[in-house]
Symmetry: C2
Subunit: 204 residues, 2 copies
DNA sequence: CATTTTTTTAAACAAGCGTTTAAAATCCTT
DNA sequence: AAGGATTTTAAACGCTTGTTTAAAAAAATG
């Protein structure tokens, strides 16, 4: 009789949760095994080592990370529309996965890094034709002529930082979690307006 | 004969460097002692425990973190001028201390948190009169009427995230560290223009 | 049902952790 | 220079870490 979730899957799912919220150094193999309700030795039985298991979790996280970007910018809409849709989707996605940006940034900064093929993820985004589209829009004077490096950076700054800084700003402003999230929804609209007005100056 | 740097100072300075770049869990007492060129036991002799030493380092980091904000916004200039000066200073400051934003955000997110008086730092900023000044400017129609929570969030997002994401974006774009930093200087101007145009709509 | 293969277990491993100890070295005061 | 306080040291403490082992349990195979 096949179980609906195998031991391997239980461990992977527990690792996903624990690694994402605590990072590689912030948790132990035993903690992951307990979260999965299984014996410690099984972590190594199925995944050979903590590092190997982490690598799997991290790569899956990177897939999640670029998925919405690829989906939105690969679609057939105007650039302005795509921008607004992307910001909306990104805020919605991060509401469900608020630990993701910190997780990825931190683990990439780790000394004994995560040893994955980073370029592959950049290519995924590049393949949507986003950069060519921006370049063309800039030549036509439709989009502000700024470095193509700055465009994703502006968007990511204003989408990711607000969720990364939640704990700090909650405490600084003395807000509850819900109050902060409500403010985030208001903030999203500001970000959307600000970025589009800046990137597409004649659009209003 | 007094040494120019005491053992205690050497350990504190080593701890500052190591904690900031690796975080509380990312380093060991022995690593700090080695960086200071001293015996492990001295860490506990002078600071009682790793946690206690960390607390000192973290609070000093928070002081650094809010210092430029307090200095700039406590000065007697127009709000627009202050904004532009602050962004300039913040980029310059973070060029020297690029690990600071990640450090503070991460350690605040830690489960067994850093147990410091966060409110004190908010008060420091509030005491500059920044929020009253913004409120007044909004009533006069000089500044865009947005939540007073969103203003620091917009500024911090666009100042802090670009240095936090350096490793990731360098690898994604295949840039060298110098190339990224050069781009950051261009980006700073964009951020400055974008934020000021958005916050003070009639200012151009 | 017997045998082989796969999965799970408890226990142990060496290494590293934060911290403590007690003796040695150094400093300061008289 | 002697004596007492302070600083530094090497070694050890108990505990946790990632990982391995070897036996037990379960599942699959014929």
């Amino acid at each position: 009789m096949k179980k609906d979730t195998t031991t391997e899957e239980k461990i992977r799912e527990a690792a996903r949760q624990v690694f994402r919220s605590k990072g590689f150094y912030g948790c132990t193999s035993r903690e992951i095994a307990n979260a999965a309700g299984e014996n410690v030795a099984l972590v190594n039985y199925y995944f050979r080592s903590k590092s190997q298991l982490f690598k799997i979790i991290f790569e899956a996280a990177m897939d999640d990370f670029v998925l919405s970007m690829v989906e939105v910018f690969g679609s057939k809409k105007s650039l302005v529309e795509k921008m607004r849709i992307f910001i909306d989707l990104e805020y919605a996605f991060l509401a469900k996965h608020p630990e993701l940006p910190s997780f990825i940034l931190n683990e990439m900064n780790r000394e004994d890094g995560c040893n994955i093929d980073h370029q592959k993820y950049f290519l995924k985004v590049a393949e949507t034709g986003l950069f060519e589209e921006c370049f063309k829009a800039q030549e036509e004077g439709y989009m502000r002529s700024i470095s193509l490096n700055s465009i994703p950076l502006l968007i990511m700054s204003n989408c990711h930082y607000p969720v990364m800084a939640k704990t700090m700003l909650m405490q600084l402003h003395g807000m509850t979690s819900k109050e902060y999230d409500d403010n985030l929804n208001i903030h999203k609209k500001l970000v959307s307006d600000m970025l589009i007005n800046f990137l597409f100056p004649q659009s209003n």
